[in-house]
């Protein structure tokens, strides 16, 4: 199902917004890689939900306002966005950096949200278990370390990005550094407020995640007040890409249950 893409403005900041499907609202918050393409996972969700996939400020086709300097700024921007769009009872789905963002939003104001799905989220840390350093990895290494099944990596590495795609890659990378370089991939103040996310939550993690270590999954499960955890076998940092069928099935079953 092809997505419909529009520009959505929030207090002067234009955000590229992709959407598909009909039904209750599901809002997907992308990770560090942005939204370079429409994913099969999105199509599966769009069969039952109105799925909204915005590109965060500073990524892809969205504006990069200088006022957004931290994850806290980004979270408050999204609270403005859902208010401006009049969204209610939102199922919030975050991946990696987007999972971190989802948590930053919900500890501040969960009133417009119905549930939370976390796919290998960043945002908290386990002391003594460092994340993978994807800022020091070379381009090939960085792609390979995203996946357990290297055939996914090879398909990506076989295609050379054109100039416009390179520009987007660089823009995304700059923004990711702004939010996640230091402290690396977490907010020291987030973990202690996760109890405020009084929503049913599903945490999904690849057992072979080389970026956000699987040891982090247990901490999320423990800190969120109403969370269940799904570990996905033979899967890296992109469970919704690498194991799309099983992950989409688990996510849809969860969303149905909490509806």
């Amino acid at each position: 199902m092809p997505a419909q893409s529009t520009e959505f403005r929030v207090r002067g900041t234009a955000v590229a917004l992709h959407r598909a499907g009909q039904g209750p609202t599901a809002l997907f918050l992308h990770g560090a890689g942005g939204v370079p393409q429409w994913l099969p996972f999105f199509d599966l969700l769009a069969e039952r939900y109105e799925l909204l996939v915005p590109e965060h400020p500073g990524f892809g086709g969205s504006d990069d306002p200088p006022s957004i300097r931290s994850m806290a700024d980004l979270a408050l921007f999204y609270l403005d966005l859902v208010e401006a769009a009049g969204l209610e009872r939102i199922h919030l789905i975050g991946h990696s950096l987007g999972g971190w963002l989802a948590a930053e939003i919900l500890i501040r104001d969960r009133s417009r949200f119905r549930s939370l799905v976390q796919l290998a989220p960043a945002g908290i840390r386990v002391k003594g278990v460092p994340c993978g350093d994807n800022f020091i990895w070379g381009p090939e290494e960085a792609v390979r370390n995203l996946y357990h099944d290297q055939s996914f990596a090879e398909r990506i590495l076989a295609v050379k990005p054109d100039e416009a795609q390179m520009d987007v890659l660089l823009k995304n990378r700059f923004t990711v550094a702004k939010f996640g370089w230091q402290p690396r991939w977490y907010d020291p103040d987030l973990e202690k407020w996760l109890h405020r996310i009084k929503l049913p939550a599903l945490v999904v993690w690849g057992e072979d995640d080389r970026i956000m270590p699987p040891a982090y999954a247990a901490l999320w499960r423990e800190r969120l007040p109403d969370a269940r955890l799904v570990m996905v076998e033979e899967c890296g940092h992109l469970p919704h890409v690498e194991k799309v069928d099983v992950v989409a099935r688990r996510v849809c079953a969860f969303l149905e249950e909490v509806a």
Partner: protein, 379 residues
């Protein structure tokens, strides 16, 4: 021409074959490869050579700052500068430079420079840099805010040196209720500020601003690039309404002088190759962390790197491109004069020790440079 004798203080005993097995000699090279007994000797030899440069008639001796690397053993260059002050009388001491964005309170840098300026009775040249990309990996400081932090730290340091304290400084990165420097710098209004750089257009425009007119030192670039950066500084100065003076333009270059071109290449060829291929080896991701330069500067860098091609740089290529001046006194002098004709530069920062170049050859290089090249550049 002002002549500066400059050492990076590489860790020469490094096991290069072992180091080559790691991602880079920066940030991640296991420090079990550092032997403190050998390292202590290295410090002693490098300091002796810099002190000797005063005897030979150099105007200044130079040190710099790098972290967590075998490329240079001076994470705290002011400690070396302090030692050099005690062992020299007349020569200026150039710290090229301190990396301003890497600290959480730049007042400490203002204080240290002010102390050194007092200890040396006004012989300090204060270099300000952002640190190279790898330093953002080793320090954890966010490269996205590197330019902001540099400019803010610079403004704070200059104000701390020149304005009566105490006063409050309201920065976005550095906010201080009390700025009140004890000691104040010895020189008036403050030690000269030099800007060593890899030549980003943002830095050129900022350094050339008539309120600053900071000497701009181009490091480790081919002669064509050095000329391009010098001339872009000149154009920028003209655009801002004045003609840049010779002593606003500097060139930092590995130099080796021997009796003949052949002998010079034979003695220094491998050393200069180790500097560029072994000690400087860093990936794009290390050199250019996101936000360290603008997106357009970063794309230029990618293009230039692509043009250079991969693989090891040979001494021949480094000499041919004018990245290093290696040869007879006549050859080396000609290289310097050619650059002077192209850009009118007036500060030569001579790297007379580089890579694995031994103490003995360093000493001979310095003697011959002082005897055969220096007289033609002075006066």
């Amino acid at each position: 021409m002002q002549l500066v004798s400059f050492h990076l203080m590489p860790y020469r005993p490094l096991d290069l074959a072992e180091a080559a097995k790691h991602r880079s000699p920066w940030v991640v090279l296991p420090n079990r490869l550092y032997d403190p007994k050998k390292g202590a000797e290295e410090y002693a030899c490098h300091i002796d050579a810099l002190v000797y440069a005063e005897e030979l008639g150099f105007d200044a001796i130079g040190v710099n700052e790098h972290h967590q690397t075998a490329y240079g053993l001076m994470p705290a260059p002011n400690l070396i500068a302090s030692a050099l002050i005690q062992r020299t009388k007349r020569v200026r001491i150039a710290i090229l430079g301190r990396a301003l964005p890497l600290v959480n309170n730049p007042i400490y840098i203002a204080e240290e420079f002010a102390m050194l300026d007092n200890l040396s009775k006004g012989r300090i040249i204060a270099g300000f840099v952002r640190g190279i990309g790898s330093e953002y990996h080793s320090s954890g400081v966010n490269p996205y805010f590197s330019h902001e932090r540099f400019h803010e730290a610079h403004d704070l340091i200059i104000r701390a040196w020149t304005e009566p304290g105490p006063f409050a400084f309201d920065g976005d990165h550095f906010g201080l209720r009390y700025v009140n420097l004890w000691p104040r710098p010895y020189q008036t209004p403050h030690p000269p500020v030099w800007i060593p750089s890899q030549g980003s257009s943002e830095t050129v425009a900022w350094a050339a601003d008539p309120r600053r007119k900071y000497p701009f030192l181009v490091t480790f670039s081919s002669a064509d690039l050095v000329a391009r950066y010098h001339n872009s500084y000149r154009e920028e100065a003209r655009r801002q309404g004045y003609e840049a003076a010779a002593d606003q333009l500097g060139w930092a270059c590995p130099i080796y002088v021997a009796e003949s071109d052949e002998r010079a290449r034979e003695e220094a060829g491998r050393a200069v190759e180790t500097l560029f291929n072994d000690f400087l080896r860093q990936s794009f991701e290390m050199l250019m962390p996101p936000g360290y330069t603008s997106i357009s500067s970063m794309k230029n860098f990618v293009r230039m790197r692509g043009a250079l091609g991969g693989g090891r740089l040979t001494a021949e290529a480094l000499i041919d491109s004018g990245t290093a001046l290696i040869g007879s006194p006549k050859t080396v002098l000609a290289g310097i004069e050619r650059m002077r004709e192209r850009t009118g530069f007036g500060i030569l920062v001579a790297l007379l020790q580089f890579g694995i170049l031994s103490d003995e050859l360093t000493r001979r290089n310095m003697d011959l440079f002082a005897a055969e090249v220096m007289p033609h550049l002075q006066g």
